[in-house]
Symmetry: D2
Subunit: 240 residues, 4 copies
């Protein structure tokens, strides 16, 4: 059965900037949903300005993996929606957070830290080195991915140490960054992936699309146990 993906986008740059619209005429969400469909996934979209930001119970209930892109309007995301998404991730929904989504409410809530970092926007070169070559997320990827022009994100990245660190980025300006980070949270899987931008056409690259597709497959729920919590008055064993 096809994995059901919802691609969430703040979708503000696309409305306010002609330059962004020219790069992503269907929106960043449209671009991502399209290449996921080409991979056989059942991909829909949701955006900030829709009712409940497009993330109704009905949508979330049918979402195996949620992809999150936001940048200038993190504060406009309602706390109730964040609560619902948080609960769904812990229940088993996968979550892939892209680029500036590091500062989204949902990622910060799941990480428990500020998720702050250094940044610079001069279009410098980035090279993402694979440090865990056996990981499902780098299937089909070479030793590194080279992006000729990117916004720089630099360490210290204030996150918990990833459960698995997959990529480390090199930047021409002198910084490094943990740019592919896997986490288990509750029954859900979370992947933070650094690349992406509203004007550099990064989401059209085949290698970046491959990583995101792989990540969706990695993050899709499995049918493990649903833990019971709370009071268990009876012991499993007879106590003498």
């Amino acid at each position: 059965m096809a994995i059901r993906v919802t691609v969430w986008n703040e979708n503000r740059h696309e409305q306010t900037s002609k330059e962004v619209r020219e790069v992503y005429p269907a929106g960043i969400h449209g671009c991502i949903a399209e290449f996921l469909r080409a991979e056989g996934m059942d991909a829909g979209t949701a955006t900030l300005d829709e009712p409940e930001h497009g993330l109704t119970d009905e949508v979330l209930d049918k979402t195996d993996v949620l992809i999150w892109w936001g940048h200038v309007a993190h504060q406009e995301v309602s706390d109730q929606v964040v609560e619902k998404v948080h609960k769904r991730v812990l229940d088993d929904m996968g979550l892939i957070v892209l680029h500036s989504g590091h500062f989204s409410k949902i990622f910060r809530k799941l990480m428990g830290t500020t998720c702050d970092l250094k940044w610079r926007e001069i279009g410098e070169k980035e090279r993402l080195w694979v440090v865990e070559p056996g990981h499902q997320i780098v299937d089909g990827i070479g030793e590194y991915i080279e992006l000729p022009q990117t916004e720089m994100y630099g360490e210290r990245f204030d996150i918990p140490a990833p459960d698995t660190l997959v990529f480390i980025s090199w930047f021409a300006g002198g910084e490094v960054f943990r740019s592919g980070c896997c986490y288990n949270r509750g029954k859900g899987k979370v992947f933070y992936f650094r690349p992406g931008h509203e004007t550099y056409p990064i989401f059209y690259r085949k290698d970046i699309q491959r990583v995101i597709s792989n990540a969706v497959r990695w993050a899709a729920p499995t049918c493990g146990p649903s833990p019971a919590f709370g009071h268990v008055p009876e012991p499993l064993e007879t106590i003498s």
Copy 2:
């Protein structure tokens, strides 16, 4: 210089229950502060019903390690105080969360998960096995600590996998539990330690006191770099 510890206690059972008062006449906080002082630490206390729960800026600024015990009144802890404590932990303050503190706002905020678990209160035996015998926190401890009567906490414990897992508990009733869990969050160190109860006199035990003292030393701040975050317009390297 002596490590400055603040022992925070909800301190409600002590007020409402004669039984608890008899076990802990100085309160759980008083008991803990006393044995830490005997270890040469500069230990103060703070409780829920004091102004700002006793955790004023002045107190927090002078606290190297905060110990947290709460049980029935987690919801009465103000969100502002939780925000301040959270910020202090990420800045570098150590945090030791005891027993039912697993459900405190501050622990849940730092973990990003529900921190839920199974529990049962029939006074069964617990045996805490050391699984990382080289860790500073088990200095002076044997292969296991045996508690003749405890409240059971059982897996699934909904936490992120610890950065270091130090203890695993066995319970007579048939459950296991990750009962000594180390985390790095921001520049701060967090230790969750399962033992403790308002009526079982667990905090008077020398072995438990030893673990808590060790944990205070482990969690005390070191003088690592204070990361700079945000916009760094100039690259460190000349970009051609």
Copy 3:
């Protein structure tokens, strides 16, 4: 394409003990290969007394995942075969080590530690608790697996902390054990799974078979990059 599994068994108990032969008439390897085939896998077997222990280059080259069971004859496994298997795991072959395989040369070589533990053989009850319910390896498994009669393995288990800890065992006699441990080593994935025995009929259980089948799927190679090592005289960037 079917995953190609080779089930390796020391196969000595089966030759020397009528009791073992009655439990496993086709050998432990035969039992395991059979249920993997029923899952659609391409499963063959290899045993100690075959030439090169059945692990010729030809066999290893066609093996995606190797399963290892040994007990009384670890020292008879040739160092050359261990070297070859070690290299194949680092190249990308999955490895699943069962029960007394903890003391095999290959597992100890991959772990870098003694892999020693406590043991007792009185047929006591074991309960394996799932502590990472979102992991692929516990797909279809309940909150715990209960084995009415097992050999006990107890902590301290002298292994590196697992990259992911999936199961923790409870034993009636009072011990705990990290009984499902995932590791990435080189491009290969390694899973240690504690259950198994030569006379308790554990490998006939559906739940144990499910975990092993899941583990095979988890450990199967992916097509990540094959890292280049050694001298790279030319920098990727022009250095001023």
Copy 4:
């Protein structure tokens, strides 16, 4: 009591190269032992060409932390000495492996992997970024350490994911490297630290000396339990 450190050096470059002798007239081991003594440690040295490579039982028994530097003669280190050092590390001796020591027998044995990497020697700039600023090993260190001229080591570094990753290096030529890696193995602690070279005068730098001194304190043994292994015929609990 002063921490007892033994600084082991292959000490071959110092004998064969005038250039190396001019940089390290007392040998790399002499330079390191000297700055550790200035920190109040009880530091001795041992070298390859001494009987038993200077690592007799008597020396090892009195060593809290062993520092290891080797480069061209890893194969000349006897397997018996490696076995003894390995056992001592698992027992509780700290081990700090510097630079080209990544390819030493002892480090490879402890890691279980090839420990291979990329390298280039054109004297390019390295910048070691601190990614875990609360760690004891970066006490007194800034956000990064900048080395104007180094040999490059690049990913993929074939090691197990560190238990704690403290430094990531940026190189002018375009690579990155996990250059400060902490491991728990047995009761011992292992720290791999990338910087160092036989002619670049890196071990005279105050920042590098500070990291190594901090690492010695971090790796020094604590008095945790000495696990009992093997047959425990009697259960701790009465089994019904």
